[in-house]
């Protein structure tokens, strides 16, 4: 399970809508299962079907999290026109250990956010608890 403040949950969806029709991506940080920080990242692919983070931004986020005593808890990206399920590419490139992978789908009128644990090709959906 991953706990996400409503404001951060809303911000991920807002990010996805602002970036539409391109995919957007970002990082969530926090402690344990509880998210407390969101970092909107640049999708260097600027694509409707792919995302790739910029390494300098990634290092900056990791250092900022460390300075705040937080850890990276999740990597999120949007699927502008497809369901909130990991693609083959998502599964293959889910390389960062011990994080959740969140997908925001804008395929329907109402955005759908789902979270997964992905390791060595195995995908397991996990519960998202939004907290106030």
């Amino acid at each position: 399970m991953i706990r996400i403040p409503q404001a951060i949950h809303d911000d991920m969806i807002a990010h996805a809508r602002e970036g539409f029709p391109l995919e957007v991506c970002g990082i969530l940080g926090g402690e344990g299962e509880s998210v407390s920080a969101i970092y909107r990242m640049t999708n260097t692919d600027a694509s409707n079907e792919h995302f790739m983070m910029e390494p300098r931004e990634q290092f900056a986020v990791v250092k900022d999290l460390r300075a705040k005593g937080l850890t990276m808890l999740a990597i999120y990206h949007s699927h502008p026109e497809t369901p909130a399920r990991p693609s083959e590419e998502d599964i293959k490139l889910a390389l960062t250990p011990d994080v959740s992978y969140l997908i925001i789908s804008l395929a329907a009128a109402d955005a759908v956010v789902k979270s997964y644990k992905i390791s060595a090709g195995n995908v397991q959906q996990e519960q998202i608890e939004t907290i106030v």
Partner: protein, 74 residues
């Protein structure tokens, strides 16, 4: 030899043949082709991982490529 890896100091046995790539191997980092390394503030080109030596006092950060895509989702 003392170096800092991902914010943590680490003591290593002296090894003049140690490179960035062999260090990652020592650390059991898998899928190293997808790893980006920052050495003393500079991001290394991946082909240089196998030739760049690790030196006393180096500050090394590494992380995995973060990417994916929505193609091939039914």
């Amino acid at each position: 030899m003392k170096i800092t890896i991902n914010g943590k100091e680490m003591l290593l046995v002296e090894n003049s043949a140690r490179t960035i790539d062999s260090l990652l191997e020592e650390l059991d980092v898998s899928q190293r082709l997808y790893v980006t390394v920052e050495l003393n503030g500079d991001i290394l080109d991946r082909p240089t991982h196998e030739t760049t030596p690790v030196a006393e006092g180096d500050v090394i950060e590494f992380l995995y490529f973060m990417g994916g895509g929505s193609s091939h989702v039914d």
